[in-house]
């Protein structure tokens, strides 16, 4: 029998340790594996370093709850809903360090990690103040063939990554429907020590074999599969659902007050299962985000 990698959110959270570097899928209001973000908060994780290509509301929650001490990436923003206030406040108060790279600078580090190389090279960030922030991970070198100056970026190997996908089989073959494929999906599993994937649905291996073109991560690179329908809420997961506009708006407002913000996170993280969480959100809000095409 092949290994069965399906487990509960709590079992998957046990694969993340205090102090780990955790790469989290997401682009602002898009595609954040929120079920696992809530589970890390429930588990009381501390001192995490978080990497994201565009950090969004999930990073704000981890910041408010004191679960992270460092962000390693290019930007944290909820796009049209503005800055993540808890994250901003924590950085300004020096409780969280913002280890800032350009987007392709971060991807250069991860791509080197994915290929088990000591460093990658890039022309990005030259002339900016970003390289000087990182004497330990960025240094200027000469192209050995032409002498041109480029930046060497030390490889990055997060301990664990969190992704969300459309479906998986129990062995851990991960499928995405057509649509935007973020760099997270392509690089994180190869660069990270462990890979946890929440999915909208768990299907049989036979169903996966009908559409092998949709499999984007092979089972051998996956450590945990967690069933989490609507698992990116309140962020979007194309093409299934869009971001919850009402949720983000009210979060942007109530997160002005740290006490209310933490109470709201605690309320939502109090749900002991994905079903219970969706009950808290309400059927109306969930179906609203699914019927987006007619409004687009």
């Amino acid at each position: 029998m092949p290994a069965d990698k399906v487990m509960s959110p709590a079992e998957a959270a046990a694969l993340v340790g205090d102090g780990d570097h955790v790469a989290v899928q997401g682009m602002g209001t898009q595609g954040i594996p929120m079920t696992m973000v809530r589970e890390l908060i429930r588990a009381g994780r501390r001192d995490l370093t978080i990497t994201a290509v565009v950090g969004g509301i999930g990073i704000d929650w981890l910041a408010f709850k004191g679960a992270m001490s460092r962000f390693c990436g290019p930007i944290v923003s909820m796009e049209r809903f503005g800055m993540c206030r808890g994250f901003r406040r924590a950085v300004e108060a020096r409780r969280i360090e913002f280890d800032e790279y350009s987007e392709s600078g971060l991807l250069t580090r991860l791509a080197a990690g994915a290929r088990n190389l000591p460093f990658g090279i890039t022309r990005s960030m030259i002339g900016t103040d970003l390289p000087a922030l990182h004497p330990d991970t960025i240094t200027e070198i000469a192209d050995p063939f032409t002498g041109e100056r480029v930046l060497a970026c030390r490889s990055l190997r997060p301990e664990v990554c969190l992704l969300h996908a459309h479906r998986a089989d129990r062995r851990g073959n991960i499928q995405y429907d057509g649509g935007a494929i973020w760099p997270d999906v392509q690089i994180y599993p190869k660069a990270s020590g462990r890979t946890i994937v929440t999915v909208e649905a768990i299907v049989s291996e036979e169903v996966v074999r009908e559409r092998p073109d949709q499999t984007v991560i092979p089972h051998f690179a996956v450590d945990a599969v967690v069933l989490a329908p609507h698992g990116c809420h309140p962020t979007s997961f194309f093409p299934d659902y869009v971001y919850d506009e009402q949720f983000h708006s009210s979060w942007a407002e109530l997160s002005r007050d740290p006490e209310r913000a933490v109470a709201e996170i605690d309320r939502l993280c109090g749900a002991s299962s994905q079903d219970e969480y969706l009950e808290l959100i309400g059927e109306a809000a969930v179906s609203e985000t699914r019927n987006w095409r007619e409004r687009a």
Partner: protein, 277 residues
């Protein structure tokens, strides 16, 4: 073609009823041509409207990677987010980010890029990282450099826009260089090995470019109703003024109609104005 021909007569008529957002969209749109490829970033409503307008008027072959994903998207209208799926409507390809970056980094494609920064300085460096002298103890933490840290360093022609032309935004020197402009001016950018660079600045008050030698920001035109001294007083550094300053060409009546009725009837572009913008 016939629709464009039919509109041809009206296209050249200057609008009398227009607002500043429409003037900015039209000014930016005229900088994009058939054969250009462009991409828009987060909360980039003015550029998104400008790309759509250019395609409906003089540059139908302008290639637009909407939200960095949707190749040649045909959104029904500019939606409330310039990154999310509604903007990628009827694309001819969903570009994976791992595809997008090699195309952008390659040098052959996507040669123009629109930049907005919380701070822009007299040499066209932009800051979207921190306000204050110390990076580690910021007075205000901004969202982060994101793609600006790439686009400023890889040979792109940079077109800036800001809806807040004031001394807080247009500063002598940015607190942090998130996007490399002309650096310290003169040939500093070339000495750093960088091609391309800042070309144009479109604000809510004026249009500026950069002096070919000193690379200092230089006033080209003031928008109708704005005086040169208004602009100078609203700028945190000494803006170069050479000779007679023109009045910015207003949008045509047809451009205004297209923006209001076809491209952005929901007024998403107004999200860039007012509190919090």
């Amino acid at each position: 073609m016939s629709a464009l021909d039919a509109g041809g007569g009206r296209q050249s008529q200057t609008a009398t009823d227009y607002t500043i957002d429409e003037l900015m969209v039209s000014t930016l749109a005229r900088r994009f041509e058939n054969g250009d490829q462009v991409v828009n970033g987060a909360a980039s409503f003015i550029p998104a409207c400008a790309f759509a307008l250019a395609r409906l008027t003089h540059a139908p072959e302008l290639v637009w990677v909407a939200g960095g994903v949707g190749l040649d998207a045909r959104p029904r209208r500019i939606p409330a987010s310039t990154l999310e799926a509604p903007l990628w409507h009827r694309s001819s390809m969903y570009m994976a980010a791992e595809d997008f970056w090699p195309y952008a980094l390659n040098g052959r494609w996507l040669t123009k890029f629109c930049v907005r920064g919380a701070q822009i300085d007299q040499y066209g460096n932009a800051n979207n990282s921190v306000i204050g002298p110390e990076y580690d103890a910021p007075v205000v933490r901004l969202p982060g450099s994101a793609g600006l840290g790439d686009m400023g360093s890889i040979g792109k022609r940079l077109l800036y826009w800001t809806t807040t032309h004031d001394p807080r935004t247009l500063v002598p020197k940015v607190d942090f260089v998130s996007c490399a402009g002309w650096l310290d001016g003169g040939d500093a950018r070339r000495r750093a090995g960088l091609g391309g660079g800042p070309e144009l600045v479109v604000t809510n008050l004026c249009v500026a470019d950069f002096h070919p030698d000193s690379k200092r920001m230089r006033l080209i035109s003031v928008h109708p109703g704005v005086t040169v001294s208004d602009v100078l007083e609203s700028t945190g550094f000494e803006l170069l003024v050479e000779g007679e300053i023109a009045r910015t060409e207003p949008p045509t009546a047809e451009e205004v109609r297209l923006i209001r009725e076809q491209i952005d009837p929901g007024g998403a572009r107004l999200r860039e104005f007012g509190p919090g913008s």
